[in-house]
Symmetry: none
Subunit: 124 residues, 2 copies
DNA sequence: GGCCGGCGTTCACGGCCCGTTCACATCTCC
DNA sequence: GGAGATGTGAACGGGCCGTGAACGCCGGCC
């Protein structure tokens, strides 16, 4: 496999989620998700670094291609949009996890509602 | 199955839709669709790459056999014509899905009307 | 030839999607 | 409780796309 593996037909898998950046397409359970360009790019960059906490600034510069202004909420807004669509497609899963004060982390986790209703264990 | 499968008696199936390019024929529920040459060619090229997003430029060059001029809306107009005829033949299905800023994607999906009338996440 | 209808192309209008930003609500941590 | 971070809904403007229709071309028919 070449170094620049994502130059051609890259396929990202995060749990039941499948992302094909070169096809501008993301699939969940064999259904295509209807994502806008920004949404797909953000999802792609998150998925490329799954299980890692990504700072807002890092995400922004990867997706928007420029430095993030302090106070810019674009990342938050698009995380929200992705969460809504992912929740609709895969109600039993959660993918984008907030790390207070740092940023977000992509990881497929079942939304097992325990009697404590507590799913946190990841800390920063 | 031979590599150049569509050189002879190619049969494309997309959900309940059946396309026989060599016979200049498309069938839905055992009924032949009345399609013009252009319509059939566009439908064929879309069906050959089902589940993949095809850029307008790519579609145009495949169907029209020349480069697309910027701003040319021919693909859109013919997508519309196909949608009308497919909708008439198979009201419960949708086949040609718009991907904003890129082009179109062929995939058979049921048009499940929720109580909110919102089909966005089903790609429909 | 003249009429007619289907087809392909092009245009224009309008609706809606998308990206951006703001305002307010809610949450986290101390 | 309080300050700051994050969640969430919505407004707004630009531009992409849906849509109807006009126009010319061509072949069929009388």
């Amino acid at each position: 496999m070449p170094l620049a593996a994502h130059t051609r037909s890259e396929v990202l898998r995060v749990g039941p989620l499948e992302i094909l950046p070169d096809e501008h397409l993301a699939r969940a359970a064999d259904r295509a998700l209807m994502l806008s360009i920004r949404e797909l790019r953000l999802l792609t960059e998150l998925a490329r670094r799954a299980d890692r906490i990504m700072a807002r600034e890092e995400l922004f510069s990867l997706v928007w291609g420029r430095e993030m202004r302090t106070g810019d909420r674009s990342v938050d807004v698009y995380v929200r949009k992705l969460r809504v669509k992912l929740e609709a497609a895969l109600p039993d899963w959660s993918f984008i996890h907030t790390h207070f004060g740092f940023g977000y982390r992509m990881a497929a986790e079942r939304t097992q509602r325990t009697r404590h209703g507590n799913e946190r264990f990841t800390t920063g």
